[in-house]
């Protein structure tokens, strides 16, 4: 099957050719990491190939997007956009008319100059209305041009959840929304903030792949990286690769390594610290296993150390990295001394 290019050469290389078409993907990262720009690269690549593409904007009004992207010298005129930013809410007590609007409109970027003003009838955005609009737009576009939309970007799921899913059973709603997107048979990119590590977010669970953007500070400079976390139906490059936002947009160096061990300063993304910790722990545990094998091969009596190895792995599993590391290091110490001094002895606690 032919792959879908993201419009960024380095990222396509990481994806071993691009995205598998007709599926929904999540694009994650902290704010300011470049999610919207990447989404735009993806859409513009479609336009370059003569495809029909559409942006569903829940975060930013179209006029601002237009201004933001102008810096890169991109022409967004042929981009279709569904403006799903919610209106100002009417707070009058007696009668606030909230129109769960299917009057949301799709426009070419070309026609956009100013912000859409809230009308007398307030339009509220819901998953339902967006779904209905998209479906209409797909049908109309097909009738008018005979072409199907092949690329859709939804920016962002975080906002959609905040504004469009109040009081609803989230996981089932998202499941249904993702199903809806799948049935559109377009390649879909959904941007969302980084998930918390404890909660299973439905959209991650159901997405067919995840590209993650990273941003941190090193010696007072912003540094960026990109990684592929999951890609169903394809192998992929599983390393972090450096990324920059230049005057042409995003650039990914698919053949370069990210150095995580450079000078770290405050404000490093938590993710990275955790990764470094994991790595330390990981190396310690691997070393333990190696030594363990060697001790076994040398027929040393190490059975009484066994509980400690379990303890280390249990801590690790429960996410208690520091405790696990401590156990692992202790264990290393003991295994080493056992090899130096092979006579069986009682372990000092």
């Amino acid at each position: 099957m032919q792959r879908v290019s993201t419009g960024i050469e380095g990222l396509d290389a990481m994806l071993h050719g691009g995205l598998v078409p007709g599926r929904a993907y999540v694009l994650t990262g902290p704010s300011g990491s470049g999610k919207s720009i990447l989404g735009m690269h993806f859409l513009l690549e479609g336009i370059r190939n003569g495809e029909s593409v559409i942006l569903v904007s829940v975060d930013e009004p179209p006029n601002e997007i237009k201004a933001n992207m102008a810096d890169f010298g991109w022409s967004l005129d042929r981009l279709r956009i569904l403006d799903a930013t919610p209106d100002i809410r009417a707070h009058s007590k007696s009668k606030s008319i909230i129109d769960v609007g299917t009057t949301l409109d799709v426009r070419d970027m070309e026609q956009i100059s100013k912000m859409r003003k809230s009308q007398a009838r307030i339009m509220e955005v819901s998953v339902h209305s967006i779904q209905k609009m998209l479906k209409q737009e797909f049908t109309e576009h097909f009738t008018l041009t005979g072409k199907r939309y092949t690329r859709v970007v939804i920016d962002s799921m975080t906002s959609l959840k905040l504004f469009g899913m109040r009081g609803e059973d989230n996981s089932i709603l998202i499941q249904s929304f993702m199903r809806f997107l799948s049935e559109l048979e377009a390649t879909i990119v959904i941007t969302t903030d980084l998930p918390s590590r404890e909660i299973l977010e439905t959209e991650f669970h159901l997405a067919r792949g995840e590209v993650r953007l990273h941003k941190w500070y090193e010696s007072g400079m912003v540094r960026r990286a990109v990684s592929v976390e999951k890609l169903r139906g394809s192998s992929f490059d599983d390393c972090y690769r450096p990324m920059i936002i230049g005057d042409q947009g995003l650039f990914v160096q698919a053949d370069a390594q990210v150095a995580l061990h450079g000078q770290r300063t405050d404000g490093v993304v938590e993710d990275f610290i955790e990764d470094i910790q994991t790595e330390e722990l990981f190396e310690a545990l691997e070393e333990v296993l190696r030594l363990w094998e060697r001790c076994e091969a040398e027929k040393l009596n190490i059975n009484n150390l066994r509980p400690r190895i379990y303890r280390a792995f249990t801590h690790w599993q429960m996410g208690l990295r520091e405790e696990a590391l401590q156990q692992a290091l202790l264990l290393l110490e003991q295994l080493r001394s056992r090899r130096r001094n092979p006579s069986p002895q009682v372990v000092a606690r």
Partner: protein
Amino acid sequence: MPGERVRTGIEGLDQMLNGGLIPHRPYIVSGPLGSGKSTLCMQFLLQGLKEGQHGLFVALEEPPNEIRYNMESYGWKVGDVEILDANSDIRRFEPNPTLEISSEIAPVAMKNLPAKIRKTPDGTSREITVHSLQQSLKNLFANKQYDRVVIDSVTALRQFCMRNFEENVSTQSFMRFLSESEKTALLTVETPSNGTSSKLETFLARGEIRLYKFRQDIGIKRFISIEKFKGSSHMESILPMELNENGLAVHARAS
């Protein structure tokens, strides 16, 4: 009493399990996103085919056409694996939606799958609940001998199919149903990425195979362990595992 074991299709894993799974019991395969749960399950079903057994894949997360494409990318001949599409349709938002609680779903051999995703029909919308799924499976099992069953995933089953049910009781009864049907079943459970253990399913299952995925700047490292295996001894250590173009491979140390 050592009986016959069910081979998982992954040699190293069979070694860890002291020969394989004990037949006719449900087992949990747990792990974070992209850790290889579905791949492991498919290898389990393919091994069954090799031994002339029938296997059923119950898909609750992904449309069958995508699963087929994903698995064929390993170069596997999955055409004879039967797959049951238990994905719910798009929800309707009309005031009085016509919801069809469907228990009339039938499995399809992978080779007969349409290339495209099944579309939600205009009039009605099909919803799968834990109850309707159980009913369909019951009918299926009555008509055909399935030896191996995969439920992918219990996480989806809990999240999407138990809206009006009490989750724990329903899960318990579903597992009970599988045991009584005497299937050797693998049920996948997705764990959050910090690796905390899953809840009830693990407790109810007769064993748990846990997959780990850790990210480093040089790439992703994978591990596998047996958390629990009733009625058998098993290897207790966490072993490195590979997910490559041939699927999952576990290198069990010769002991």
